[in-house]
Point group: C2
């Protein structure tokens, strides 16, 4: 039986830095009904993403979630009622449906229809969702890896990083990963095709890093910023590219923390440092999903999921992700067959 009420997790108070369960509360409400041009989605999977930290504070690329509002989240769900002729009940969609069971939405909230040919619905949130699109399009737009170059990926076993590493390997590069545990390092080597990987928590001294990158670094795919970035930048080669896809290692930016000044490196080595936000590249989503789907069906790309059961686990899942404790794409599952989780 579906729940009589719509379970919702709303922002209770704005976190000063890293969000945790204490910043959210349940606020159940009647299941809403779609108006003209709208449809009702029942969420099946919630996406837990590092970017969600940024959506809780001012100064990012997106308007912050309001206190009292449902936590912003990507999700996959199925249409259960519709007053939009383009979306019939039973259709599965990927979009901005929030930390809740039910969402009334319109086309503006959609990122994609879920293509059943691409495998389980949850993959629409990972390899065929924002993480996969980020890895693919950021490498295409900024990284531009060339055969024989060295590509270094931070959060190498994560949802974005694990794809970036595999795509760089496909491009003929020497691929080096930095990850936060020995287990993730093993996963990088066994599953994600890295030539070398290092547990940065065991020490990031320059000689160790240099030994993994004997020809320097041509593309730094950076999801972390912080001390990891500070260790990598001096290894960058002339005409190196730094893809800034995330800043997971830095919890607070007001005031900005200090870092070694980089203008001299940028100038002397003619580096190109660029920020990448996948939502700027919607026009390329369909082609990218098609390409990632083809490679996946050919067995050339692997991805892993790390699934938490139940809506109530979402805040703790986000906190764990931000501590680097995930093993693959972090998801919250809301239904298991007919059972509500």
């Amino acid at each position: 039986m579906p729940p009589a009420l719509n379970r919702r997790l709303v922002l209770a108070q704005r976190p000063a830095s890293t969000p945790g369960p204490e910043h959210f509360r349940r606020d159940d409400q009647p299941i809403p009904e779609p108006g003209e041009g709208q449809f009702l989605v029942r969420n099946e999977w919630l996406s837990i993403d590092p970017a969600q930290r940024g959506w809780l504070n001012a100064g990012g690329y997106a308007e912050p979630v309001a206190v009292g509002a449902v936590m912003r989240s990507l999700a996959v769900g199925v249409v259960t009622a519709s007053r939009d002729p383009q979306h019939a009940p039973g259709e599965r969609l990927y979009g901005w449906f929030g930390w809740q069971d039910y969402c009334v939405a319109d086309d503006a909230a959609l990122l994609a229809r879920v293509d059943p040919a691409n495998g389980p619905a949850s993959s629409a949130l990972g390899i065929f969702g924002i993480p996969g699109l980020t890895a693919y399009l950021a490498l295409q737009d900024i990284g531009r890896p060339q055969p024989g170059e060295t590509v270094l990926v931070s959060t190498a076993a994560g949802a974005v990083g694990s794809l970036a590493g595999q795509l760089a390997r496909r491009a003929g590069c020497h691929v080096v990963g930095l990850a936060g545990s020995d287990e993730k390092v093993a996963q990088c080597l066994a599953d994600f095709g890295y030539h070398a990987a290092l547990n940065y928590r065991a020490g990031l001294d320059a000689p160790r890093l240099r030994a993994l990158c004997p020809r320097g670094v041509d593309v730094f795919f950076d999801n972390t910023s912080g001390e990891i970035a500070d260790a990598v930048w001096p290894l960058l080669n002339v005409r190196g590219r730094i893809v800034q896809c995330g800043t997971a290692a830095v919890a607070a930016w007001e005031p900005p923390p200090l870092a070694p000044r980089r203008e001299r490196l940028v100038l002397a080595r003619r580096l190109r440092h660029a920020g990448f936000l996948v939502f700027d590249h919607r026009a390329h989503f369909a082609a990218a999903i098609a390409q990632l789907g083809a490679w996946t069906r050919q067995g050339e790309l692997r991805h892993r999921e790390d699934i938490e059961p139940g809506l109530e686990r979402a805040p703790a899942a986000l906190a764990a992700l931000l501590r680097g404790e995930n093993r693959g794409k972090k998801l919250v599952r809301l239904v298991d067959g007919e059972r509500v989780l």
Copy 2:
């Protein structure tokens, strides 16, 4: 009468940070003779450039000048003897001829023949030389100013900056300059077409800077790094470009000084920060000089020179330039008609 000896200024000791006269000494030697495929140039003008500080230390883009070697410098001189059929006596050349009266060189040391149609020979070192080429090609390659955008230039009255400002104005931009004195600010407004300019030594507080850039900054043409850059970066708009052409405000980079960490700005605003070194773009020099020459003859581009007489003044001229005391392209004149300076 030409000197019987070749006056030379050699590096006496490597400076820890900013070079001054104490780091150089005279070491006169017999005038050399060209070998097969070489020619002898008599220098007329020496170029004094901010980049010369970088050539004295390790870690830059160029091999450091050796202690005891002639100081590396661009110059304009006339061929007085030649064993290279491509260069006849009387021809005027622009190249790497060093802080000395005479230089034996071959084609590898040349940047360009001096085109008499472009005006006085000294202009080959300024608007038609590395400064002009840097301003033109860096804007073309990285800055890409679009009509209606705001372009902010540091060292706005300098040899590179004054051209960058004029070229941005030609491109239809709102152009704002930062310069190091009230006199330079006046020059920016009167001579170089800036819409607004600010003496950064009188205070670089955010509200003053913001008032000059009411629509933010789309292109930051940065020749300084340091506190000036730290004040400008927060004003950058989404998809802003930072052209790193110099780092004149920072005297020492070992160890790197600290700065506000920028990854979050780069990511959230999708900035593109790139280093520009004009010597990577030799293939475009001839076309750029032709274009700059055409605009100059049409009266659309102005440049100023700041001339010191006499070889011995070169070290002090460099130190003054690095203190920001120049008024236009800094040059040392070595001959005045028949008179040696």
